[in-house]
């Protein structure tokens, strides 16, 4: 049971008030029609599953209904920081930049991306 600080309500509230909405920083491609099927598939379906630092999108669904981001350690469940949509995380894994979009890695297969992110290698 997480204890989550809502950056909009400016209070810690119980996890029951929130919904997790998946990995953060998955922007919708600006020109979907220009994406290949593979790129679109990666945007829709492929997500990281890291052991350690992870950036997640959450919504205060039973509170202010606002979305925001959480940086969380998936191993210890520690919440390292919360930050609003549009802001950048200050805690990142191995100083790797937050990957803005999978479509920028079109030279690699999703499996390669997954394996790399799991081993903590630089993307």
């Amino acid at each position: 049971m997480f204890y989550i600080y809502c950056p909009h309500c400016c209070e810690h509230r119980e996890e029951e008030e929130f919904h997790a909405a998946g990995q953060a920083h998955i922007p919708r491609p600006l020109d979907p029609d220009a994406c290949t099927d593979k790129e679109w598939g990666e945007y829709m379906y492929f997500r990281k599953n890291p052991r350690g630092i992870h950036h997640e999108l959450w919504v205060h669904s039973a509170g202010c209904r606002k979305f925001f981001n959480i940086t969380r350690d998936t191993q210890t469940y520690e919440i390292k920081e919360v930050y609003k949509i549009g802001e950048k995380p200050s805690v990142v894994a191995n100083a790797v930049e937050v990957q803005n979009s999978h479509t920028q890695n079109s030279s690699k297969t999703p499996l390669e991306n997954t394996l790399e992110s799991q081993s903590g290698a630089t993307l």
């Binding site: 945007y43 919504v59 210890t76």
Partner: protein
């Protein structure tokens, strides 16, 4: 039966308050302050259960949460039955009714015992897997007998009459355990002004001090406890919870405490009181002062009643005034357990011998035993106990230096009680709950808490600091550390003076050897509750289970309701030795919540009955009830399903309702549809992005149907959206999808397009919606409004504001039946008034209320889909034959556009929604039936799609159905076959899903 084991003096019981209780149908006596276990021992009850696998008689071995055998069924009435109660934790009260949970025909004479005796050698670990594997179909039969043989209590058959409760708590410091460490920590934090919660599972604070003869400041420890408790009680911000088990320690310093509020003194909670309460605590800092459990030693027949853990024997003597036998043999590998021999001796009972595995024990307590003239056999062990229903004698033999072989002659001694101690295991369970891996500590021969990310401190025996002096010191320092984190000033706290007791070094000993190899020796039990023996663990290791987690699962060690509190370390030590590795190399299994079994009542609290699953009612609900509606659950809503009249069958009702709508007029309560008010200058553009069709030109006063798709192009919701004003729209959603759609709109607005000026508000509950449908619906509406609702002034897909039955209304000319329809929306509190007014004027038109089932039939006659019934997340608008609802020309690439153009989405053989006309018009296809093109094909037949909607249409006097068929849109007129489970094969023709009025003339009038 008299309390023959009760001592004349001593203990924390109140001999002036005699209590009567029932055990296995017999009336027994005890005293206030007893536990059920101490009262049973006082009465000389030896056998309290039969073992899980071998049905061996078992007695009480411990005095606390770690008790594996005395698992009771408690409850005076059927409704108040509680299974799995440890007798050692159940306070005695007048009228308590308890019984053993297994044993047939009785716990004293159990026929299964003979099975256990014969089957002993034949029931190794994995016995059930190996034996009852084949044939698989008979497992259900085997299982019921195996479960009966096992028997660990039963749930009540009647509804629990008691009230359970939950409370959310917040504190600065949560202290778990009110022994010496916990009490000092609480006192320190309290004096500093911190908000403190201190909880202990016992009926009073004091922990180990309650069962010890130690003095503090030269006075009995009880006096110090009383003074601390009194001071703690004087602070407003200190919550003191007795009878309260901290059962779970979860992430972010969240702890759950099960507080027994009344079930320690009554079978039922007195009127108006709470039986149990679950406290949900968020603590800034946690101090675990959970103490330690003494480890018994493992030896032959160590489960015969009378074999006990040493400290438990001391506890029964010192705390409860009960000596559970006459002649004691104490076996120990350490000094600490000598206390038990001293206590036994001082209680006036006979200590036959202290059997010490060490060659040369020395220390204060050893000296004290010698002074009392107690015989001490050094370098020896009890290799076997004798007796069946009670220990009668023991075999003692000299051991080698390593303690793993018998090296001399066996001496047999008469005794009825064997107390053993292999040292103490810190109670690290809670610290493990949040994922910390315990660390082996060679100095104390036990696991201590591992590193944690929680704001957690530990104090006392949990750290392996077993002396009272160390516990007090660590309690103080843990509290001071918490206070410094909380920026509170450390107060003055002086610790009481403790007795100086020197203890010699303990020996690492877990498993006493026998003259025979372990596999042939009398059973040496490691885990009493699951009947796991040393031989079983050795066998598991030999069979290739090397990970301790696998050994655990194969042997079931530690799987009981006691989670192996007594046996796990011994089991790991035996596994380590068999695998020829150290205990830290072997590792430990992980303890998980809950520490002890929690009643469902405490978990559920008040979230039961009406509060478990809230129901939503429309404004017209009372009318529906009065008119005999049958209801259907849609989401949380109670929606009228159909309105039977007289002795009508459901189909007769539906036929009547369907005909009434198409012949004259029907009315549907449509209030439950999701309604989202959308405003802002970018509202129109936003709609264009989230719907598949075009919204740029929808004029004020007009309505439009839209399909909502995911990024994968698949339909997930649909509904009509109306333009109320240039920057103001009202979106409707499916009843069940309303919350999801609102979150969908929000996530795109907040994360993708925050620059758009648009606002979403759920207004579902604000409006009551009633749909009048049928050729006479306009005439009916005209009776209630002065507004001109003629075709010329109010065309199909128009909405108009008007006054209906005297109240302001929005009326939408939209239709889900294919008939002339008006959807009247009024403020919810006017709903019932307008609904009744419609019926007042509706008599002339045979206005007929219809429910969701008739709505489904009428829309199916028209081929209208229901999102979630005719869609399943794998179909896009083109699969539904609804290309008219997709605008590929919109400038913005709407959600779903890219997805529905993927290679797989444009295959010609996709499953497509078509109408299905059964060749026999009287046959109604079952929904979900799978279609095949050739019913004579070999099995497994290639399936081409399933039936999604299927009904009897009274209007068409035949069945109507829709379903998916691969490439179905190009197969019009072809046949598809539905082989059913009953052997029938239903043949159907693929057709347009619009069965009635294909030109839509009926709604354009």
């Amino acid at each position: 039966m008299s309390q023959r084991n009760r001592l004349q003096n001593g203990g924390r019981i109140d001999r002036s308050k005699s209590l009567t209780f029932t055990y296995n149908g017999k009336l027994l006596k005890g005293y206030a302050g007893d536990t059920l276990a101490s009262a049973l021992l006082a009465n000389g009850v030896d056998i309290v259960g039969r073992s899980f696998k071998y049905s061996r008689p078992r007695g009480i071995v411990a005095a606390g949460a770690e008790e594996p055998n005395a698992i009771m069924q408690v409850g005076a009435t059927e409704a108040t039955q509680i299974p799995n109660v440890r007798a050692t934790q159940q306070s005695l009260y007048d009228g308590l009714v308890a019984g053993t949970t297994n044993g047939w025909p009785s716990v004293e004479t159990d026929l299964m015992e003979y099975v256990g005796k014969i089957g002993g050698k034949m029931m190794p670990p994995g016995f059930y897997y190996k034996t009852f594997m084949f044939p698989q179909s008979l497992w259900g039969t085997y299982e019921s007998y195996i479960r009966k043989a096992a028997g660990l209590g039963r749930a009540p058959q009647d509804t629990d009459p008691d009230i359970y409760d939950k409370m959310n708590q917040h504190c600065d410091v949560m202290i778990v355990g009110a022994g010496p460490a916990g009490l000092v920590a609480a006192l320190t934090a309290a004096r500093a002004g911190a908000r403190v919660i201190i909880a202990d599972e016992q009926n009073e604070f004091g922990g180990s001090l309650l069962s010890s003869t130690e003095t503090l400041d030269g006075k009995p420890a009880a006096e110090w406890i009383a003074s601390v408790v009194q001071e703690l009680a004087s602070f407003d911000d200190v919550m003191m919870l007795t009878h309260s088990q901290v059962n779970g320690y979860h992430d972010h310093n969240f702890l759950t405490i099960q507080q027994h509020c009344t079930d320690q003194f009554a079978d039922r909670a007195p009127n108006g009181q709470i039986a149990q309460r679950l406290h949900r605590v968020r603590a800034k800092w946690v101090v675990l002062a959970t103490g330690a459990h003494e480890r018994p030693l493992v030896y032959g027949n160590n489960d015969v009643p009378g074999c006990m853990v040493a400290n438990a024997v001391s506890t029964y003597i010192n705390r409860y005034g009960v000596a559970p036998g006459i002649d004691l043999v104490l076996m120990t590998s350490n000094d600490n357990a000598y206390r038990t021999a001293l206590d036994w001796h001082d209680a006036g009972r006979n200590v036959v011998a202290v059997v010490d595995s060490r060659k040369n024990p020395q220390g204060t307590l050893v000296d004290a035993a010698r002074e009392r003239g107690i015989s001490i056999l050094v370098g020896s062990g009890v290799i076997e106990a004798h007796g069946s229903k009670r220990v009668t004698s023991v075999s003692i033999a000299p051991l080698n230096d390593a303690g793993d072989a018998v090296v001399g002659a066996i001496v047999k001694m008469k005794a009825d009680t064997v107390a053993t101690s292999g040292g103490w295991s810190p109670v690290i369970h809670l610290s493990c709950h949040t994922g910390a891996r315990p660390v082996w500590n060679d100095a104390i021969l036990g696991f201590t808490p591992g590193a944690t990310v929680q704001k957690q401190l530990t104090a006392g025996a949990i750290n392996g600091s077993f002396t009272t002096a160390n516990a007090l010191n660590e309690g103080l320092s843990a509290a001071c550390e918490a206070l410094s984190h909380l920026n509170l000033t450390k107060p003055d706290v002086s610790l009481p003076a403790t007795q100086d007791i020197e203890e010699g070094e303990a020996m690492a000993l877990f498993h006493i050897p026998h003259t025979k190899p372990t596999s042939k020796a009398p059973k040496q039990f490691v885990d009493y509750q699951n009947d796991v023996t040393a031989a079983g663990i050795e066998l598991a290791c030999r069979e290739g289970f090397e990970s301790i987690e696998h050994v655990k699962r194969y042997t079931a060690m530690g799987f009981g309701t006691d989670q192996g509190k007594l046996g796990n370390i011994n089991g790991m030590a035996i596994a380590a030795k068999t695998l020829n590795q150290t205990i830290p190399q072997t590792g430990t299994t992980i303890f998980r919540p809950n520490y002890t079994p929690v009643t469902f009542g405490a978990i559920v609290g008040r979230d039961c009955g009406a509060l478990f699953d809230p129901k939503r009612y429309t404004a017209m609900h009372s009318w529906h009830v009065e008119h005999g509606a049958k209801f259907e659950d849609v989401g949380l809503w109670k929606r009228p399903w159909y309105y039977p009249q007289g002795q009508e069958t459901m189909q007769e009702s539906l036929n009547r309702e369907c005909l009434a709508v198409r012949e004259s007029a029907g009315i549907l309560d449509a209030s439950t549809l999701g309604k989202i008010d959308i405003q802002g200058k970018d509202a129109r553009e936003f709609l264009g992005r989230v719907y598949s069709n075009a919204w740029a030109k929808l004029a004020v006063g007009k309505c439009r149907y839209g399909l909502m798709c995911g990024e994968d192009g698949m339909v997930f919701d649909d509904g009509v959206t109306s333009c109320l004003a240039e920057n103001h729209f009202l979106m409707t959603t499916t009843t069940g999808g309303a919350a999801h759609v609102l979150e969908w709109l929000e996530i795109y607005h907040q994360t993708e397009w925050p620059e758009m000026e648009v606002y979403f508000t759920s207004v579902t509950d604000h409006w009551a919606t009633m749909t009048i449908s049928g050729p006479n619906s306009r005439k009916l509406l005209e009776k209630l409004t002065d507004y001109d609702v003629s075709k010329d002034n109010m065309a199909f897909m128009d909405w108009k504001p008007m006054t209906v039955a005297g109240v302001p209304a929005r009326v939408f000319r939209i239709s889900f039946t294919g008939e002339l329809s008006f959807e009247i929306n009024v403020q919810a509190n006017y709903g019932l008034h307008v609904w009744k007014a419609l019926f007042e004027h509706g008599k002339a038109f045979n206005l007929t209320p219809y429910g969701t089932e008739t709505m489904h039939i009428l829309r199916a006659e028209k081929g209208f889909i229901i999102a979630g019934q005719d869609t399943d997340g794998s179909v896009h608008p083109f699969d539904l034959g609804m290309s008219w609802a997709v605008s590929m020309q919109k400038p913005f690439s709407f959600i779903g556009k890219r997805g529905m153009q993927r290679e797989d989405c444009v295959r010609a053989d996709r499953k497509q929604l078509v109408g299905l006309k059964t060749i026999d018009p009287n046959v109604v296809l079952p929904e979900g039936a799978q279609g095949v093109l050739d019913p004579k094909a070999s099995i497994p037949m290639p399936m081409v799609g399933h039936v999604t909607s299927s009904y009897w249409s009274a209007n068409l006097n035949r069945s109507v159905a829709m379903g998916f068929v691969k490439g179905g849109l190009d197969k019009m007129g072809e046949r598809v076959f539905y082989p059913l489970v009953d052997g029938r094969v239903v043949e159907a023709e693929i057709c347009s899903p619009v069965f009635l009025d294909p030109k839509g003339e009926r709604q354009h009038v």
